[in-house]
Amino acid sequence: MDLNMHLNAPHSMGTTIIGVTYNGGVVLGADSRTSTGMYVANRASDKITQLTDNVYVCRSGSAADSQVVSDYVRYFLHQHTIQLGQPATVKVAAYLVRLLSYNNKNILETGLIVGGWDKYEGGKIYGIPLGGTLIEQPFAIGGSGSSYLYGFFDQAWKEGMTKDEAEQLVVKAVSLAIARDGASGGVVCTVVINLEGVTRNFYPGDKLQLWHEELEPQNSLLDILNSPSPEPMNI
């Protein structure tokens, strides 16, 4: 395997992304790892991007493709909001994302989860996987790490959760995926969207619960950062 490939490969977000509806809004969650091959290009990326005041999107797959699609949709939604004279609905945002994904399916490689709150339908999650299917779901998972979460959600998700239950569910799920998926890692970011507005939350990687067979960090380089004279090779 060509070593250079790891440095020159297109940035992809292996990723775990999740969107969950609860009684009153939605919670979006994601990990923070962007990789080029096996090299972690960015260990603190923000994969939850704003489209409008009340609609956000979780991005997975090709970093470039998902950024460009988000940028276009943000631009179209901005114009739409001005014409409409009121905030765009989550459905319209999802439809625009789908339109771009479907019409450019030969070129793009990005899976997206659109989530938000509007006054007509409340909290809604729309999954738009590769190819440009649009599917409205009570919860959606995406990215390489999501493979490990299907069974978990089948058992753990229920209707009518509270905001805190939903957020804890999302954090737990991303952390489980990070434990098993090499292409997901770093920190967990969540975004809660409801009638009152938008709240971003941050869960550092070392504060997450350790799962089966995961080890505590030993002689981690992060521990030496705060000491007066850091000696990295002191094992």
């Binding site: 014409q83 409409l84 004279g85 609905t89 459905k91 319209v92 999802a94 439809y95 625009l96 339109l99």
Partner: protein, 249 residues
């Protein structure tokens, strides 16, 4: 307010010294010469009615439709040059379908009215086009409830509780103002519209006419459709009776 705009009225791209575009005003006259078209907003929907002046006794009743559905939830009634009206309706239908396929939801009535008005206005900006000789009453029912708009040949569009265009518009407006629209259901509105059209029809100047009515309301499940036959007959009968009572006085 009519005046002769000699010299300044030959092109739609010419202003008169007092700031008027006469061609647009002449287009409005074409609307004023056509049969009356009215629309009212009741508490649960919109009712529109047209006084179709019959040119020939040999015409099939029900032909020459003046009210068209633009989308499932909206319709427009056209006064003035019928052929011009066809163009505008076609454009409105196209805008509505296009909006639905891009945004995934039915076009809001406000947006539709703006697009129609924009299109009508477009044709007042170029010397190689003439303005549309049509007035349009647009009624629809979307997420924000029933709405009624009127678009004039100049491209102005406004939202109304009650609107009237055509020959009998002054008389019709007076009648509409008498109605308590916020308390009326569409069922009652249909009868009221029929009565008004019959009343403003000028028996002396115009011979026969045919009434055409449509509604979009809760009872029609927010779909724009012709008023159901039984209600339509009931409305016509009530209108004729009201007219006879008036004549009897």
């Amino acid at each position: 307010m009519s005046s002769i705009g000699t010299g300044y009225d030959l092109s739609v791209t010419t202003f008169s010294p007092d700031g008027r575009v006469f061609q647009i005003e002449y287009a409005a006259k074409a609307v004023d010469n056509s049969g009356t078209v009215i629309g009212i907003k009741c508490k649960d929907g919109i009712v529109m009615g047209v006084e179709k002046l019959i040119a020939s006794k040999m015409m099939l009743p029900g032909s020459n439709r003046r009210i068209h559905s633009v989308h499932r939830h909206s319709g427009m009634a056209v006064a003035g040059l019928a052929a011009d009206g066809r163009q505008i309706v076609a454009r409105a239908k196209s805008e509505a379908t296009n909006y639905q396929s891009v945004y995934g939801e039915p076009i809001p009535v406000k947006e539709l009215a703006e697009r129609v008005a924009s299109y009508v206005h477009l044709c007042t900006l170029y010397w190689w086009l003439r303005p549309f000789g049509c007035g349009i009453i647009l009624g629809g029912y979307d997420r924000d409830g029933p709405q009624l708009y009127m678009v004039e040949p100049s491209g102005i569009s406004n939202r109304y509780f009650g609107a009237a265009i055509g020959k009998g518009k002054q008389a019709a407006k007076t009648e509409i103002e008498k109605l308590k629209l916020s308390e009326m259901t569409c069922r009652e509105g249909v009868i009221a519209v029929a009565k008004i059209i019959y009343k403003v029809h000028d028996e002396a100047k115009d011979k026969a006419f045919e009434l055409e009515m449509s509604w979009v309301c809760d009872e029609s499940k927010q779909q724009h459709q012709k008023v159901p036959d039984d209600l339509f007959e009931e409305a016509k009968a009530a209108a004729r009776t009201a007219l006879e009572e008036m004549d009897a006085d």
